[in-house]
């Protein structure tokens, strides 16, 4: 990479001191300790770089260097020399907020752990003293010491719950944190009163332990969200889309797309991918929209026309005014559909929320019934109140709070290992419910780039010559051909004829590669069109020899096996494609899928999903194009390949990596297992209440029993969740 077209990274650099710059770089392909060592060593041996530290969990490296000695682009170049492709990474404000939220919860957890341990030390002494010879004075001292620790600890560590409960009450609604807060406050208040009356039992340890276990659940949930966000941000950076910005003075600079603003002008050369949405100001070309709309035909475009990120500029240079960079305006229709679909989706109620809705009234009703019951039985109101409060304490949802986040985070780890990145933690339970899978064709069932379809038709010698010539063309089809032929060593002195093809004289023979007219190969191409309907053709002529290369979409290598595996799991398969019938039918036949629709618009994709929904089906939509985005948002759950259009990735619940469809099957398996474990955990929490609540109602729940019940139920639920790591477990 020469300095002339090196990426300008200034938008991603921040200054940490005089002349000192720092940049985060997302790196593709960190797999092991060796990679990290190579990167850290390779970078820090460069004069000027003072710190290079790889973060494994995030697959990023943070570099700090002397600005006088190095430019940002040189660091990326250095990384490339070591053998890693790095992409400057903008840590947005949202990242900082997530990181702060995690650190805050961790601090609360640390304080709660400190409190729980020290209070337990005092409590165990009291419990063993109660069955032997502790004096009332010593017990009171221990209780007061416990209060001294518990009150400030609860005030600090309980904040996440108190804040959330207050916010809910202010909105005149009730969430899970309301009964939790009530339980904690009543437990502490009652214990202080009990201590003043020199009572035998105080529940300081229960209150703090409750906070401790609930915080673990809360932290797991937060980690899950942070991880999903980090992964999505990395994917965005790894897309490495750049745009050539035309400055006021006419000079150009290559910028990462995230640094381009609406109103800027960018230059797109023939054969380049258009990375922004915008309007053409000057130039005339054809545009390949297949990755966006699924349509294969190339559309003519001239000044005034709108263009969309993700499309490919075929044959003319274009100047584009940016209307929105990586997010914002779109095909109006897609945008309107998308917002409708997103609103419809939010009706789904998560398992945890459904449990919480049942839980709060149950707990409060039981506590109230206990209180009135004991009053009617002739107990003093003070004693009846104490028993009612122990019911509140013992039913506090430790196990319930851990049941779902613990499974989510272990299942997300298992998914990540099989190449699936979750964008939504709750996607696991929706994925597990899917009974119908709707696939898009272009870019989802097929590979996103054009593949060579007729390798049997040309001799090795012809292939070599054609490939070497194709390397000199900027036309996307020629580039796809050169890639498919594994070509090396382009010819010298190749002449490019715009709109037609490339020509070269080699060893006294003229060779041409390009359109049918250019190579005088009309007959051969019309013959090939019959054999390969829907394909695009590149003609090649060497002297009198003519060859026709058919390029088109090829199924992903494991598509047939994946569809079979999904059918074996009882899932119904459908194909919805924006492409024409001639292109969809053979693919459906090859996959033995009988339900397919072709030439489908984004609106009719949603309509189809709606019909499926009314039939009571839960649909998993797998798609990648911009035209799939509304359908991805409308479906019960959705997945996109990592090569998908940006907007589709944002609408999808999960992304899968690599060239294969296999991760879709894995995702279904892992999600189903995870869902099973979540339901098991919830039933366990119910069972726990069946045992513990009668004890509490009978007034037998001492602090010792509360402590044992809470910690053992939390342990069981967590250990059960860990089984999601292991694929063979059921």
């Amino acid at each position: 990479m020469s300095m002339a077209n090196a990426i300008d990274c200034s938008a991603f650099i921040w200054h940490v001191g005089p002349g000192r710059a720092r940049m985060d770089i997302a790196i593709d392909g960190i797999r092991c300790a060796g990679c990290a060592t190579a990167i850290e060593r390779g970078l820090s041996s460069e004069p000027g770089i003072s710190i290079a530290r790889v973060n494994f969990a995030l697959k990023r490296v943070t570099v700090e260097w002397d600005e006088a000695k190095l430019a940002g682009a040189q660091i990326l170049q250095r990384l490339k020399d070591i053998g890693y492709q790095g992409y400057p990474f903008a840590s947005g404000a949202a990242d900082g907020n997530e990181a702060r939220a995690s650190a805050y919860l961790l601090r609360c957890l640390g304080v709660a752990a400190f409190g729980a341990m020290n209070i337990m030390l005092l409590s165990v002494s009291v419990w063993s003293g109660n069955v032997s010879d502790i004096t009332t004075e010593t017990r009171d001292l221990f209780h007061w010491l416990s209060a001294l620790i518990a009150l400030p600890v609860a005030a600090y560590s309980g904040r996440p719950f108190f804040d959330s409960a207050l916010a809910a009450l202010r909105n005149r609604s009730v969430n899970m944190d309301v009964p939790i807060t009530l339980g904690i406050v009543l437990a502490l208040g009652m214990s202080v009163v009990q201590t003043m009356q020199h009572a035998e039992h105080a529940y300081f340890d229960s209150a703090v332990m409750l906070i401790f276990f609930l915080l673990i659940g809360r932290l797991l949930d937060q980690m899950m969200r942070k991880r999903a966000r980090d992964m999505a941000a990395n994917v965005a950076a790894l897309r490495a889309e750049t745009a050539t910005l035309i400055r006021e003075d006419g000079s150009t600079a290559v910028l990462p797309v995230r640094a381009v603003n609406p109103g800027d002008r960018v230059l797109v050369l023939p054969g380049e991918k258009i990375s922004v949405d915008g309007r053409i100001i000057s130039g005339r070309s054809h545009i390949d929209q297949s990755l966006v709309t699924g349509e294969i035909a190339h559309l003519p475009a001239a000044a005034g026309a709108k263009v969309y990120g993700g499309t490919i500029n075929i044959d003319g240079a274009l100047t584009i005014e940016v209307t929105a960079s990586h997010e914002g305006t779109l095909l109006d229709e897609v945008e309107a559909l998308l917002s409708q679909a997103t609103a419809a989706r939010s009706k789904y109620v998560l398992l945890a929320d459904r449990a919480a809705r049942l839980y709060a009234p149950f707990v409060h009703a039981t506590a109230l019934a206990t209180f009135t019951g004991w009053m009617l039985a002739g107990e003093s109101w003070a004693h009846a109140l104490v028993i009612a409060i122990t019911v509140l304490i013992i039913t506090c949802p430790c196990a319930l709070g851990l049941a779902i986040p613990a499974v989510q985070i272990t299942a997300a780890g298992a998914l990540f290992r099989s190449g699936v990145l979750l964008r939504n933690g709750d996607a696991i339970e929706r994925l597990a419910q899917a009974d119908t899978i709707v696939f898009d064709k272009t870019g989802t069932l097929t590979l996103p780039q054009a593949e060579w379809l007729n390798p049997a038709d040309a001799s090795a010698e012809i292939c070599e010559a054609a490939g070497r010539l194709a390397m000199s063309s900027r036309h996307p089809l020629a580039q796809a051909l050169a890639h498919a032929l594994n070509s090396r060593n382009p010819y010298d002195n190749v002449e490019e004829v715009p709109g037609s093809g490339v020509r070269v004289m080699h060893d006294g023979v003229e060779m041409t590669l390009g359109s049918a007219e250019f190579c005088a190969a009309n007959d051969q191409i019309s013959k090939a069109q019959l054999l390969y309907p829907g394909a695009s053709f590149v003609a090649f002529r060497k002297g009198a020899d003519i060859a026709v290369f058919a390029l088109g979409q090829k199924l992903r290598a494991d598509a047939v096996a994946v569809v079979e595996a999904l059918k074996a799991r009882g899932l119904r398969i459908e194909i919805l494609s924006g492409d024409c019938d001639e292109a969809v039918a053979p693919i459906a036949r090859e996959l033995s899928v009988s339900d397919y629709l072709s030439s489908v618009t984004p609106a009719s994709k949603i309509a189809r999903l709606e019909i499926l929904r009314q039939q009571g089906r839960k649909t998993l939509m797998v798609g990648d194009g911009l035209n799939d985005a509304p359908a991805l948002a409308a479906a019960h759950v959705s997945m996109s390949p990592v090569s998908a259009a940006h907007l589709s990735q944002t609408a999808a619940d999960a992304l899968f990596l690599g060239e294969n469809l296999g991760p879709v099957v894995e995702a279904i398996d892992i999600a189903r297992q995870g869902h099973r474990l979540m339901v098991q955990n919830l039933w366990f929490a119910v069972l726990y209440n069946f045992v513990a609540v009668p004890l509490a109602i009978a007034g037998l729940a001492t602090p010792l029993i509360a402590a044992i019940a809470m910690s053992s139920s939390s342990m069981v639920v967590t250990l059960n969740a860990l089984r999601a790591r292991n694929r063979s477990a059921t």
Binding site: C32, A33, G34, A36, T37, E40, R41, S44, S45, E46, P47, G48, I49, S50, V54, N55, F56, A57, L58, A99, A103, L106, R107, G110, V111, A113, F114, M117, N118, L121, T138, L141, L145, I149
Partner: protein, 63 residues
């Protein structure tokens, strides 16, 4: 029972020491990359790569 006058503050101080250590490790960013530490154990960056005899076997002193 006078022993508790010493034991209780001792226990509390140990607890506080643990809490302080945790907060310190949190603030120094040791929880930011939980996978890295495990991998770094396996890397041999404390061993010297073979070098020519003229170069003293010392760690890089790049600025």
């Amino acid at each position: 029972m006078n022993i508790i006058i010493i034991l209780l503050p001792l226990a509390l101080m140990l607890g506080f020491a643990g809490l302080a250590a945790f907060l310190w490790s949190l603030n120094t960013g040791q929880f930011e990359d939980l996978e890295g530490a495990g991998w770094r154990v396996l890397s041999d960056d404390d061993l010297q790569p073979p070098r020519s005899p003229s170069v003293p076997a010392r760690k890089d002193t790049a600025p």
